[in-house]
């Protein structure tokens, strides 16, 4: 028999918090080894050019400088491979560990200095003389592809997805709505910059890398391959990780360099990135230009969608390969019935920082595009933005819903959902009807204020597997060993909660081990909102096995049958009555090989949470600033293991979404010189910019693909923020389709307002004049 859940579903305090609050965290920079050398990277100051010479003579003369490496010192090291979404033809665009003949973005590693301390290393790096002949940089993706190298063009590949008869849909359309939209370049920018400390332990013949994150096992295997070592002679250790968001923990050139140097010099090698480096060298994301059109019937129902987009991946193809454009194309249809669909995504290379995933990768972009399209359809057929969504939503009765597309090696099948119900909940929470009246009155009084809505489907719980080993120690503490990773999201607490309920112990007595390649043979890591789903179910399976094993053994010792026993609070007791009992730790002594069990959860399909965001924004006509007055999020994740942590994920995601919608952008000048290189240029939201938010964590649609009904919660806070803020600004300006580009910076918004007022002055009726050149298709304009 099984007690009801004591921990799952409750907002218990986090197990992670105490050391972090006490200043006892162990982040990458906090790890040091005696005799370590500091590595400093010399980066290209030129966006695109030919390297003529690299002269380290002066640098090497500086006291405390041990060595300088250039490309010739690492010529034997291959390029970093692809972790996900390999498509044919991308390999030649992989980044070398150090640039050899050509530099392709400002910030590209050209040389590295090794010195006794950070100050000496930085002094020396400044003295390394680079002679680079600058070439004309490619910065725009809209142009025809140019030459990358030899016969390679700057179009590295094309992602194509689709189903249904798109031509027929457009042939039979009542009307066609077309938009041109773009999303700005921004990224995760965790508060802890990247860092890695490598050392070679000669006694064990093991290369160690500390400061690992996100995907330690994959990185371990790849480092071993690149450096020509046996997999087991390379071990990665994850300490505390100061935020992940997709970009952190991917394998970068600097990781390889510290490892190679530790092997070569037999010294611990430490590298800690500074903020300027981070902003020009760690993965960027999001930059896409879309041309989308929809065929609709007279009621505004979608008959077909065609999208062609240009994905600016920067200078190289890094570990994610085609992941971001692939996800953008695969997830674009969202929660709506789209009978015919075709997406063509051009992966283009430019002379900017290379790109990877960032929280809700591809979906932040394609949700913006799709939801802009829905708003434009609403305007076209003259219904409101809520009604147009209702008319197009996938019905609950259609679940599970096979989209007919694939991504990340899986068929997309929405496993469960009641999209219309969640829409109702969000509207009720926002008091939508009264809100509309209030906003109308305020607009009549001269305020530029409006409300927007956006809906989306997320994905989570990517397989193919996760394995967990659980062992009870003789003092009764429980160790859960997993191959996932913690990036600050609360893994230890959530996994302990699941284990505690399944096994019958106090969650605070459970130690969750993650990110240590020498503790478990395989692991998938932390990405794609996969940890709670995959590791959570593997934990439940392992804990259930362990419980059965413990009860069988205890029954023998206590001379009773196992079904009369229960485990409560770490104590084996007689179920439902008094009698002899035995602590689990004591039972563990009867197992010479350990009281343990292993569980593996395999899953061929992802699970699909879904959400609705509602925003109310006020536009300042003078400054172009946007203030978010109200924000409502409804997100259905099937089952919340720890509702407070889920809310934390959602609100944290929202803050990042707001950054991408209004503030954050990596800008470049015409020569490819990055302009956003400090936190004074790259503006992230502060406590002033993130609104108070009402969060509804809904559990109407548990996933049928795992017994707890879990779906991942990590990305729904960020996904539709650009879309909903654009929609609200349109409403505030009284002009559907006004916003076509993110971020909506004050300058851009002032330009939009200036265009609107000049077109009004020119005598055009506001309802037939396109709002901006980007949305200049007459089809996008609302009917008179």
């Amino acid at each position: 028999m099984k007690a009801p859940a004591k921990y799952v579903g409750r907002s218990v305090p986090r197990l992670e918090d105490r050391p972090l609050l006490m200043g006892q965290g162990r982040f990458a920079a906090d790890i040091s080894f005696p005799g370590q050398w500091i590595m400093r990277v010399v980066r290209s100051p030129v966006a695109y050019g030919k390297i003529k010479s690299v002269d380290a003579t002066a640098a090497l003369k500086l006291p405390g400088v041990h060595a300088v490496w250039t490309a010739t010192d690492v010529a034997h090291i291959p390029r970093i491979g692809f972790r996900l979404t390999r498509i044919a033809g991308l390999e030649p665009y992989q980044q070398p560990v150090l640039a050899k003949d050509t530099v392709r973005y400002v910030g590209e590693p050209v040389a590295v200095v090794f010195a006794a301390d950070q100050y000496a290393a930085e002094d020396a790096a400044d003295l390394v003389e680079l002679k680079i002949e600058a070439l004309r940089a490619t910065l725009l993706v809209a142009e025809e592809p140019g030459v990358y190298e030899h016969e390679l063009t700057t179009e590295a590949g094309v992602v194509r997805k689709g189903y249904g008869d798109v031509e027929a849909a457009f042939r039979n359309a009542h009307a066609v709505v077309s938009l041109e939209l773009s999303v700005g370049r921004h990224s995760g920018v965790p508060l802890e910059t990247r860092g890695a400390v490598a050392r070679y332990d000669e006694r064990r013949d093991v290369l160690e890398m500390h400061g690992a994150a996100k995907v330690p096992h994959w990185n371990r295997d790849e480092i071993a391959r690149m450096l020509g070592r046996e997999t087991n002679s390379v071990q990665l250790y994850e300490g505390h990780v100061g935020g992940g968001f997709g970009i952190r923990g991917e394998l970068y050139p600097e990781d390889i360099l510290v490892c190679a140097a530790a092997l070569k010099f037999r010294k611990p090698i430490k590298w800690i990135e500074d903020r300027r480096e981070h902003l020009i060298a760690a993965n960027h994301s999001r930059q896409q230009d879309h041309k989308i059109r929809a065929a609709i019937d007279s009621a505004g129902r979608i008959l077909g969608i065609e999208d062609e987009f240009f994905h600016d991946n920067g200078a190289y193809m890094r570990t994610h390969a085609a992941t971001v454009p692939d996800l953008a194309a695969a997830m674009l249809p969202g929660p709506y019935v789209v009978p015919a669909y075709r997406a063509t995504g051009h992966i283009r290379l430019t002379n900017k920082t290379p790109c990877g995933t960032y929280r809700a990768p591809g979906r932040y972009e394609s949700t913006f595009v799709r939801e802009r399209l829905l708003d434009a359809i609403a305007a076209k057929v003259d219904v409101d933005v809520v009604e147009i969504r209702r008319r197009n939503l996938i019905a609950k009765s259609a679940m599970p819903y096979a989209l007919g597309l694939e991504t990340l090696g899986t068929h997309i099948v929405y496993d469960s959902g009641d999209y219309a119900l969640l829409l109702d909940k969000a509207l009720a929470a926002a008091d939508w009807k009264n809100l509309q009246q209030q906003l109308r009155r305020r607009r009549q009084a001269g305020e530029k204020i409006g409300a927007g809505i956006a809906m989306f489907v997320e994905k989570s719980g990517l397989g193919p597997f996760d394995t967990v080993c659980i062992e009870v120690a003789t003092d009764g503490t429980v160790e859960v060993i997993t191959g996932v990773a913690s990036i600050g999201q609360g893994v230890e607490t959530v996994i302990a909660q699941i284990c505690a309920d399944a096994l019958g112990v106090d969650y605070a007595n459970i130690r969750v081990i993650h990110g240590q390649t020498d503790r478990i043979e395989k692991g998938m890591g932390a990405f794609a909102s996969r940890v709670t789903v995959m590791c959570g179910e593997a934990t439940r399976l392992a804990a259930t096995k362990l419980r059965d094993k413990a009860l069988r053994a205890a029954a023998e010792l206590m001379q009773t049958s196992a079904d009369t026993l229960d485990i409560v609070n770490g104590e084996i007791i007689r179920a439902g009555g008094p009698g002899p009992s035995m602590p689990l730790g004591e039972l563990a002594r009867a197992f010479p090989a350990g009281l343990n069990a292993e569980g593996t959860f395999e899953s061929a399909h992802m699970v699909y949470p879904y959400g609705v965001h509602v925003a109310v924004v006020r536009v300042d006509s003078d400054t172009g600033a946007v203030a978010i007055e109200r924000y409502v999020i409804a997100y259905d994740i099937g089952k919340a293991v720890n509702p407070k942590l889920v809310e934390g994920q959602i609100i944290g995601g929202l803050a990042q979404g707001v950054g991408g919608a209004l503030l954050e952008e990596f800008l470049y000048d015409e020569n490819g010189e990055p302009l956003s290189v400090t936190f004074a240029d790259y503006l992230m939201p502060t406590a002033r910019e993130v609104p108070e938010v009402s969060v509804i964590v809904s559990e109407d649609a548990p996933s049928p693909l795992n017994p707890l009904g879990l779906k991942g919660a990590g990305e729904g806070g960020a996904n539709p923020v650009g879309a909903v803020i654009a929609s609200a600004i349109d409403d505030a300006l009284g002009r559907p389709g006004a916003v076509t580009q993110l971020p909506i910076s004050p300058q851009r918004l002032k330009a939009i307002m200036a265009r609107l007022s000049s077109s009004a002055k020119a005598g055009h009726d506001r309802d037939v004049t396109p709002a901006s050149s980007k949305a200049s298709s007459p089809d996008a304009a609302p009917p008179p």
Binding site: L21, Y119, P190, L191, G243, F245, A687, V693
Partner: protein, 159 residues
């Protein structure tokens, strides 16, 4: 540049006699020379506030101060907040309100809040929001940090 000066940094009441270059930042000295790694470095240009410590009763960004400037002055860091195992009210409030996720910005927020609340225990919610907007957090979206600091303010006033 590399001429070193003898100074004493007094961190959480404990004197550290160290030798530093004049250009060495207080943040680096606290972490590297005094071994107190609870103070984190997030940007090294005074924007993110992760390195906030209290010098002479004032919250300062230790990446913008030279170690020699702090010589002889009382310095408080996150390691000095708790009394033995008992958490300071601000630490407890951050735990209760889920005011941290990855925890990297947390020491800076704790020291910023303590510095301000000790000086202005009756600070208004609006002013507090202004103060808290001087540090960056990338995980929480700030709502729970604001709640935690408000709760701690109440608790600290009650004492």
């Amino acid at each position: 540049m590399s001429e070193k000066t003898d100074i004493t940094l007094t961190i959480n009441g404990c004197a550290h006699a160290i030798k530093v270059e004049p250009r060495r930042t207080l943040a680096d000295a606290i972490r590297e020379d005094c071994g107190q790694t609870g103070t984190h470095i997030g940007c090294e240009h005074g924007i993110c506030g992760a390195c906030t410590v209290i010098v002479d009763g004032e919250p300062v960004r230790s990446c913008l101060m030279f170690a020699v400037q702090a010589a002889g002055k009382p310095i408080r860091t996150v390691e000095g907040l708790a009394t033995g195992d008992a958490l300071h009210a601000i630490q407890q409030a951050f735990m209760d309100h889920h005011g941290l996720q990855c925890g990297f910005c947390t020491p800076g927020f704790l020291m910023l809040a303590v510095g301000v609340l000790e000086r202005e225990p009756d600070i208004s919610d609006e002013e507090l929001l202004d103060v808290l907007s001087s540090n960056l957090c990338r995980c929480t979206g700030y709502q729970n940090i604001i709640k935690a600091v408000r709760a701690a303010a109440k608790e600290m006033r009650g004492k």
